[in-house]
Amino acid sequence: MAAGGGGSGDPLAPAGVPCAFSPHSQAYFALASTDGHLRVWETANNRLHQEYVPSAHLSGTCTCLAWAPARLQAKESPQRKKRKSEAVGTSNQTDLLALGTAVGSILLYSTVKGELHSKLVSGGHDNRVNCIQWHQDSGCLYSCSDDKHIVEWNVQACKVKCKWKGDNSSVSSLCISPDGKMLLSAGRTIKLWVLETKEVYRHFTGHATPVSSLMFTTIRPPNESQPFDGITGLYFLSGAVHDRLLNVWQVRSENKEKSAVMSFTVTDEPVYIDLTLSENKEEPVKLAVVCRDGQVHLFEHILNGYCKKPLTSNCTIQIATPGKGKKSTPKPIPILAAGFCSDKMSLLLVYGSWFQPTIERVALNSREPHMCLVRDISNCWAPKVETAITKVRTPVMNSEAKVLVPGIPGHHAAIKPAPPQTEQVESKRKSGGNEVSIEERLGAMDIDARKKGKDDLQTNSFPVLLTQGLESNDFEMLNENAFLSFYSGFQKLISPGRERGSEVEPWQWKVLQTRNVNLIKKTVLRMPLHTVIPLLQELTKRLQGHPNSAVLMVQWLKCVLTVHASYLSTLPDLVPQLGTLYQLMESRVKTFQKLSHLHGKLILLITQVTASEKTKGATSPGQKAKLVYEEESSEEESDDEIADKDSEDNWDEDEEESESEKDEDIDEEEDEDAEGKDEENGEDRDIASEKELNGDSDLDPENESEEE
């Protein structure tokens, strides 16, 4: 699997560091870094599994490594092997790792036991080992070296089985054929050996520089007409040092053809190559080539013949840092190795530094020719070698997260106006003649607010402030202030962490901070009707805020609701306007629900009685104003018109107001609605909730009926 070789000074040594994924499930990634340490990483959770420092790591650095095929693990006694195969979970365990060194020795390291298993030295190489290959069945090991020889090892006995001269110069790469009967070796030219007789079966031209990787790409010949002898017709791949072309060769029956059948072009010298074997002729070969420049090139081809032109990659993968802000530009992160997962649809990418690589599984489903993954590995750079004891990962919890508590919009479904109602809202707006653009309003408000603010802050009495505001006919200003503050309130909701102290509050809202109940009552009583809804919205916003301010607002809210209950119940668009308030109240009075309902109703009754008595006597300035303005009456007219037009909703509302005895019937209706008998289900539901809302402004008639 591995196609890497170490080395530093030699210009013809392959780039990159020896590394390999463990066979089968790719559970581990072994990497022999240039400091002589062998590190094994767990691919699933990117954890350093173990670290091994060979005793002679400075003189004999690791030049190549190879995992033993899984079946070899439980060797020694056949009795144990049998038992092993029964134990699921350990039978697929990968264990032995063969390390070739620069001085010619081969170390067998057991990753399960974390110790050196054995050392293959005697009669072997006397120069740098370039490549190691395990035989998939027999348990033999093949190695090649700069001393021009190829050695076949008996691993159990740690002895040389056979040693022969493989080339006139150093042998740099090896590969065993899929049937296990042939061996490819390469220096600059490529030779195919028959393993049994150690005779050269075929010659191939090879590369101009030492071949760094050899790999069979198919296990069955593309042309299945003639009988398959195990080797003829197979394709294999070779990559060489300083060569941007990967050549594909075919083993032909006739001996004449020696040149490559096709080639793949990549951007730099290949460092690591992995491929999925194609098992039948329809299935394409997938090839992942990691280049020295840190890119991965993916090829997907069905190999079936000769192609003169070098093939370019189907897909290129790069990784870069995000590049925060304007200062730092994204930097590329080098990919060190890439291996196909067993499902052939995803790729394990190893990237970052050699000392702390990040291993990630990337799905290959996109058809795009270029994939650029943005990864932030800044916190991975610091080498952390010690094992984590608790294996706990802490997901990030920062203040940017949205927080929803009961009563805040978004915690409960927003109450949407029924379609006919929105029309009414619009028509009402038109009839109101309130068609000033927001821009104009803002402008006007800005001036007015400042002017008024200065004026009114000098006078320190709240009732005067409000009456001044009312008597100066400046309703619109009040309105728009509410409008504005609603906006700012909305923004605050989105980012609840932000302080509201920085904003300068409009002057009116200082009034709201009073605790004097009588003052509040009086002020509310004199409020012009237009301002009731904006005031309620402002109150709602403040209720959602800090509990301290909510305490003050409750008084205001109570007054507004008791004093203006009758006005509010005439509004057709009350539901969408006060839905939030309703939900807020609902969630806040959860604990003693029935008691608070009863309490509310009693207060409502008493205050209505007393208020009506009081207002009989005294004519409030607010009412005077009401009579003066034409807008007010026109609005009422329009309301009536709409009610006349038809609209069941309004009819329901009226009825509800007039006689609360019918509530029971309405309840039944609601239930039926919920069963979904009606076709206009959604609409009805809205109506139902609207009823509830209206009921709430009357402090819940439903419960009244229950209590009765």
Partner: protein, 815 residues
Amino acid sequence: MVDEETIRVVRCGGSELNFRRAVFSADSKYIFCVSGDFVKVYSTVTEECVHILHGHRNLVTGIQLNPNNHLQLYSCSLDGTIKLWDYIDGILIKTFIVGCKLHALFTVAQAEDSVFAIVNKEKPDIFQLVSVKLPKSSSQEVEAKELSFVLDYINQSPKCIAFGNEGVYVAAVREFYLSVYFFKKKTTSRFTLSSSRNKKHAKNNFTCVACHPTEDCIASGHMDGKIRLWRNFYDDKKYTYTCLHWHHDMVMDLAFSVTGTSLLSGGCESVLVEWRDATEKNKEFLPRLGATIEHISVSPAGDLFCTSHSDNKIIIIHRNLEASAVIQGLVKDRSIFTGLMIDPRTKALVLNGKPGHLQFYSLQSDKQLYNLDIIQQEYINDYGLIQIELTKAAFGCFGNWLATVEQRQEKETELELQMKLWMYNKKTQGFILNTKINMPHEDCITALCFCNAEKSEQPTLVTASKDGYFKVWILTDDSDIYKKAVGWTCDFVGSYHKYQATNCCFSEDGSLLAVSFEEIVTIWDSVTWELKCTFCQRAGKIRHLCFGRLTCSKYLLGATENGILCCWNLLSCALEWNAKLNVRVMEPDPNSENIAAISQSSVGSDLFVFKPSEPRPLYIQKGISREEVQWGVFVPRDVPESFTSEAYQWLNRSQFYFLTKSQVTAPLKKAEESLPTTPFYFILGKHRQHQDEKLNETLENELVQLPLTENIPAVSELLHTPAHVLPSAAFLCSMFVNSLLLSKETKSAKEIPEDVDMEEEKESEDSDEENDFIEKVQDTNNTGLGEDIIHQLSKSEEKELRKFRKIDYSWIAAL
């Protein structure tokens, strides 16, 4: 030639590692721990399991190194045997049959040919320490019936027995007294702590004991957190003890270091305390070990300690109190609320882990990957403290979103509930909290599901709660002038007659949402959130609900608490079929139409795999587990298998894993087959299966119908296989023709499971009136499915078939 394919249940993980003290090998390279019926050998360096020693037939209760040969290990088990192992190679050397249940094992170097064991002979709760003489014999199995009695009325736990000072005496503790038996004098001294003297000593029960390796000193741990060091106990009168007090709660285990210079203690504080020179001043701590320390052991070489913890892990600690390795099993010390899930990204199994954590567990390697800290609050370990529990979790949108629900309920009315929605950040490769919702419902959340339809443009989550509502949460744009952001908001709240919402699930394409309200299933349109229709069977509360998939997507399945499994057709709004089956676990396979149901009966759990379109199950396995199965999950395979027989095809693309109460996650796996997969094998296998299949078909349905050629696997395989790899035409001809014929054989009736009467339900259920726009289709279902016949062959038939195969296809061996 080919073994009959069988499905078997394989224990694949989650075994307990912290049942007894772990034992180090003499060179400290390996550590042994008991794990169910096995002994596991781990490497102390790599944390890898080197060997599993299996041979015991019941719970292994004790392991000790052979004091006379450090390469051998004794183990004892409840099956009444002591086994001697060569742990380097993992070979069983000898079995000593004792004949009574052994609860613990001790070895002493001085007693050469005998070991000590705890047995209970007469009454179930009276335990005795006995010495077992192990006879020397060359045979593999030896009877060792020669027991000599040492101490009576001892505690069952091996922590309450310790051999001291090279086997001169043995100390045992129980309740309020310490008894010391001197082997030479053959006398017992008993030292009692008064419990009733005053209230301060109310909790000074003994919990564990350890003996100094060289001096005459016994250390005992107590319930109130004190450690007492007893000296001079040769004299009944002049004995002394000193107190060491650091632990605030019960001392769980004690151990002396090899030289005896320091004493190690641990408890539920999860701090390892090293008392140097047995003085209260010289203490060293190794804190934050993660969970209650259950056992402490020391390596004979003296360089390593290890602590076993209640969260199923063993920590190997250096002499200088530095943790060097962690052997972590599946954390399962608490009940699993979240069920089993598969993380779409890592393909790991996800379930409750440590308190407040989700654990990611790799099924392939039987290893914990990591714990994800969801609650992020310091875990305070104290008795009687009500903790925040992670109750629900779900992955959505291919692993990009994770929703978790945590709750803490002190009293009936005081519920704290929080839902967190985590987004997977690809840049940092980790989860980031996106939205936190306090009290998403007023009562416990019963179900949580994401809409995982591929085309859905907006991530959608549904929560169902006992408060009678279900809420639909959608991801909306929360950007403002300061930043770009997304956040979750509630889009819709639904309810049905104030019934408790018990389950919810989305259809495969995400167009429909099914929510069950106790006995009633409601179907909602996921675009407008309108109630489309309701199904009610009046058969008890719905326990599980799921939609069919792929070709069966028109079906909805519900399992009720009264043991009825119903299948409704969503097109006709009618009950398609129902079956009497007490379903405990119902899981749809994400890769196929199949649904697995595990039913619970008095004798054990049975597995049924079926397609909603046909009431006849594809596969039945009785008695997959003796215990109650709690959860199950289908795990997609990376590489599809190709099982030919229809009964096993459901395992081709997924494996089924389930979790039982006691310990193990057991997958359903197929036995390995010896034959390599070649085209021949496919042909033969399929052909054979086809025959079996057809036998059954004719028996069951009494339908005479010509098989369609494209449906016969043998034929299709024949046509798609290259000619040069096919056997001779003469051979294939008869097979080919055979496969087209209908079998005329008549067979005897099969065994019929009584609880699987998949009767066709003719009557329509009381779905509501608004469904009348859909015509009820009934004529499609009455194709003779009324018979209760299960797809199975009698044994004689199987034998015949096997014989037939052996004879007929032996030519393949020559190839």
